[in-house]
């Protein structure tokens, strides 16, 4: 347990009954080992996360653009590191991942028109309180179901960003090594 972690991770032998299906011998996410303190919350949160952030009708690359952009904007060290690796595994280049982490208009130029529209929508959704300015070109690239799913993806990522940052969840050594190998 690192000094920044607010709660003790529950190791596998202490995993509550409802949490056990989410533990893996290959390693268990600190999101799981922290949520396990409230197993009934874990039992609904993990399927929700899997549904919203996992494989769906929208391609993995597109989803990771939204997740990584949101996490970078929110300054979540855990989610940025973890999803940088997922983005690489979903077809993003190291340059694209770096651009998402920096998040400037110039760096966005390397993305397609549809992806730039998505990044502008992400910025609008997470960037202000109150009303969200309508995205002029979003509907040109995404249908209603996709807009709903991508907006929910931003909102769920934002929730996770604050959860992981507030509890000080640690980035795994394997993730740190992989990012170093990619020059990130």
């Amino acid at each position: 347990m690192t000094s920044r972690q607010l709660v003790r991770p529950l190791a596998a032998p202490q995993a509550p009954l409802l949490a056990r299906p989410y533990y893996s011998e290959q390693g268990t996410s600190p999101i799981v080992t922290s949520l396990a303190h409230v197993p009934e919350a874990l039992a609904v949160t993990m399927p929700f996360i899997a549904t919203v952030l996992g494989p769906s009708a929208i391609g993995a690359r597109t989803k990771e653009l939204a997740i990584l952009r949101t996490s970078a904007r929110l300054g979540c060290e855990y989610c940025v590191a973890t999803h940088s690796v997922v983005a690489l595994d979903s077809g993003c280049t190291a340059a694209e991942v770096r651009a998402l982490r920096v998040g400037t208009d110039e760096s966005d130029a390397i993305f397609s028109a549809a992806e730039r529209a998505l990044l502008r929508w992400v910025d609008a959704v997470i960037g202000a309180t109150g009303a969200v300015a309508p995205a002029a070109d979003l509907a040109a690239h995404y249908d209603e179901a996709e807009i709903v799913e991508l907006t929910l993806l931003c909102a769920a990522t934002l929730m996770l960003n604050r959860y992981c940052t507030a509890l000080g969840l640690p980035v795994s050594a394997a993730t740190v090594e992989r990012l170093a190998a990619e020059g990130l």
Binding site: Q14, A15, P16, L17, A36, H37, V38, E40
Partner: protein, 278 residues
């Protein structure tokens, strides 16, 4: 009532709702599951909460209530609570019986004839052996309290906890049974069970290791949440074990009860509480 009542009716889940009224105790037994002693954090469930859970339990299809701790009778309101609980469901309350003298004994008299039984720990017919595990003078106090309760018409059950029940010397078992009969407690009210390797028994290298597959699931409510068994909310080196935690939510009772019923329902077929631990 639905799945909870079904799980109870088909034997998948025990019909008794257990409640840890408190964790503190006047004794510090060597095999205590909860590392209870006079100085531990009390973590009391108040009487109103216990009554509310018992009422919910009846509605959900539970058939009885068990109170344990800690030593429940350190709570002055326990006798009055037991009388109220008996109007809702039959009650069993676990006690070391070392406090049943004078004013505390008199306070139990209204329980006479009610569906309340006090389960008292007595581990040996030998004062030396019993007290080695349970503390000085425990034997003398328990054997004084048991007939006093029986004489007052209060139901008593005796529980003997042993490292190896199957390996008990038959002569020792006969002496113990002769003792409880002489105290007014029949064989049908004497249970023998193994020490469970949890809590203080781990440090003492004692007892039988058990997990979810070896216990009879019985919903157990504590100040820290709901567990799958009264053997669940154990404490080791001051830390609460969470491996048998079901939910942190205890109110409404349908939340943990439903979760445990689903866990029991999703367990592999052939699963049984093969140790028969009570």
């Amino acid at each position: 009532m639905g799945s909870v009542a079904d799980a109870i009716a088909n034997g998948g889940m025990g019909g008794r709702l257990w409640l840890y009224s408190n964790y503190h105790c006047n004794l510090s037994c060597s095999y205590c599951l909860t590392e209870s002693s006079p100085g531990v954090r009390r973590r009391v469930l108040d009487a109103a909460a216990i009554l509310a859970r018992a009422r919910e339990a009846r509605e959900l299809g539970f058939t009885g209530v068990g109170i344990t701790g800690g030593e429940p009778f350190l709570l002055e309101w326990m006798p009055a609570l037991l009388a109220e609980l008996a109007e809702i469901l039959p009650v069993i309350v676990l006690s070391n019986a070392t406090l049943f003298t004078g004013r505390r004994l008199a306070a139990l008299e209204p329980l006479a004839g009610l569906p309340v039984r006090i389960q008292i720990s007595l581990d040996s017919a030998s004062p030396q052996e019993n007290d080695a595990m349970r503390g000085p003078e425990n034997f003398a106090k328990a054997v004084a309290a048991i007939p006093a309760l029986v004489e007052r018409g209060i139901g008593v059950r005796i529980a003997t906890t042993l490292e190896d029940p199957d390996g008990q010397d038959p002569a020792e078992r006969d002496r113990l049974c002769e003792l409880h009969r002489s105290l007014g407690v029949g064989d049908e009210d004497h249970i023998v069970r193994p020490i469970i390797r949890r809590g203080r028994a781990v440090a003492g290298d004692m007892g039988l290791a058990v997990g979810f597959d070896e216990i009879e699931p019985e919903l157990t409510i504590t100040a820290d949440g709901a567990f799958a068994s009264p053997f669940g909310p154990t404490v080791r080196a001051g830390e609460l074990d969470s491996d048998l935690l079901v939910t942190r939510t205890v109110e409404p009772l349908s939340v943990p009860a439903g979760a445990l019923a689903r866990l029991v329902g999703s367990a592999e077929s052939g699963r049984d509480a093969r140790l028969g631990i009570r």
